[in-house]
Amino acid sequence: MSKELDSLRKQLESWESHELAAFLKKSPERKPEFRTLTGLPVKPVYTALDLAGTPPEDIGLPGQYPYTRGAYPTMYRGRLWTMRQIAGFGTAEDTNQRFKYLIAQGQTGLSVDFDMPTLMGYDSDHPVSEGEVGREGVAIDTLADMEHLFDGIDLENISVSMTINPSAWILLAMYIAVAEKRGLDLNKLSGTIQADILKEYMAQKEWAFPIRPSVRIVRDCITHCARNMRRYNPINISGYHISEAGSSPVDEVAFPLCNLITYVEEVVKTGMHVDEFAPRLAFFFVSQADFFEEIAKFRAVRRAYAKIMKERFGASNPESMRLRFHTQTAAATLTKPQYMVNIVRTTLQALSAVLGGTQSLHTNGMDEAFAIPTEEAMKIALRTQQVIADESNVANVIDPLGGSYYVEHLTTQMERAIFEVIEEVDRRGGTIRMIEEGWFQRRIADFAYETAIKKAKGEKVVLGVNKFVEPDEKPKIETHPYDPTTAQRQIARLKQVRSTRNQRNVDALFARLVEVARDENQNLLPITIELVRAGASMGEIVERLKTLWGTYRETPVF
């Protein structure tokens, strides 16, 4: 130990036995122990002694390996994060209107929320879709819908994120077909499909096929985009849904890195070098309620990713080691009681995402616990980001918490915890096997249960729910109305497409789809692009492949 640290240690010991001890005698601390949301113990104060476990090169500088302090050397001094409010309801026309409203309010990126049938790969006229068409998101069945969705929107100049998983490659095929029809340059398109199927089996639970063919689809999206769409992110490896399903903040970033490892291994097997596709891998995390732990989490996952890509996969291009991520504030922290307080919660969560160096951000609406958001709720959520960006001055400096004894210490602790999870998964046979065994699912359910118990006991405070409760409150809130004609309008267009397409052509293409799907070495994208152009619907494509691959049924653990 250096002389300075030695003297600091003495000073700290003296403080503990004098100033602190004297104070504690008069009045003890509020609680017997303090912990982060993950459960890591929190000391009363941190000093340079707590940086002993963090080599200076692990902290580094922004835009420099291992990217702890930020993905880019200029960060928000160069360009602010993308303000990307997710939107989707009703038919494509309805959502197109909302997109245009958000762009007019200063939003800088688009994000599409699909309805449950679209997310699960069913057409709007399938019996299981009844009651769900256009309800929680926008209904998309065919290319005709996709054209209406982006009508009048300049796709070469705004990035579009699509939250879609088991059927992601079909939506990507439609997106490509729209762009080609308009004569756009595919290499100028930017945005992402989520296409992160492994976290579906872990947490979000939207699937169509068994795990293996689903991972092959992800591989096909990554390799197709690497060859044909230079600026497009073919995947958004997500922790958000893992957190919303109840996981700890550490698991929220550790599990996606387990999934990353599986995807990279699959793509490398095709003979593609890691540096050919890794620069376009992107991530999506939550910003939870523990302000400093979240900032440390974002910094830690950047560092862990850089090390994995370099050391495990031999990446040599810096772009392959630079973790870029979208953030959404934590919907599950928002409440129905005293719902205006949700604006404050969201503000703090948004601020930790910005201090953690996010590349884009969605802030939740105050009406999150009621229904999908109204225009007004989304406007306030967007204004929240704009206040942080334009009024608070926090975007003037990069990683302002870098060097904070607490945040650096926590960053290193989070990174270690991430690697412990990855090592355990490696040791026990890898991610897919551990999903099949329900290991991830059980860890998520256990943490969710513990959280529920802590809330019930009041150990985890939720204002309006277990503290400062207003029993007589009658919330007055205007919620987003559901247009009952949605399903009818949507199904009418689907029928119209089916009745006007060249059925013989579609049948021939379906026969080729099955051939391509049977041969693992082929890529599903080109034939799917042809199919959607010919008027095949998403549900038909999924159904055809289910006859070949089967479907997935989870053995639930609770």
């Binding site: 009651g131 929680e136 969710a448 529920a452 019930a456």
Partner: protein, 135 residues
């Protein structure tokens, strides 16, 4: 027959939000009830079948997709057709208050929304079963 309360907890519809439903299932099991969880994406027909076959006291259905106004009435109708209206139907999920009120008017005995404390879920189930009396 023992007086252990038998419960089926089900996810009906397409949404995969199972955080709440698993907490409810575990809470009721830990309170000494006999709990079956159906897993995700079940149809109203499947869960009503299971409820009748398993001779449960309570059928709890969680929906967070917004399709509650379609799904609950169908479940109630199917129970009536099967002459199984003595099975207590509980709902859970995210929905506007007026929808919760409408569903209760139609025969759903209680709607347990987000952040309902575990002990009050247990108390609600016990109260409703006691009010109904033995099957």
């Amino acid at each position: 027959m023992s007086n252990i309360i038998r419960v089926i907890i089900a996810k009906v519809g397409l949404d995969g939000h199972d955080r709440g439903v698993k907490i409810v299932a575990r809470t009721l099991r830990d309170a000494g009830m006999d709990v079956i969880y159906t897993g995700l994406h079940r149809t109203p027909e499947e869960v009503v079948d299971a409820a009748v076959q398993e001779d449960v006291d309570v059928l709890g259905i969680s929906i967070l997709s917004g399709a509650h106004m379609t799904i609950f009435p169908r479940v109630l109708k199917l129970l009536k057709e099967r002459d199984a209206e003595d099975i207590i139907v509980l709902g859970g999920g995210v929905m506007p208050d007026e929808d919760a009120a409408a569903l209760k008017a139609q025969g759903v005995k209680e709607i347990l929304l987000q952040d309902t404390p575990p002990e009050s879920i247990v108390a609600t189930v016990r109260r409703l079963v006691a009010e109904r009396g033995p099957k």
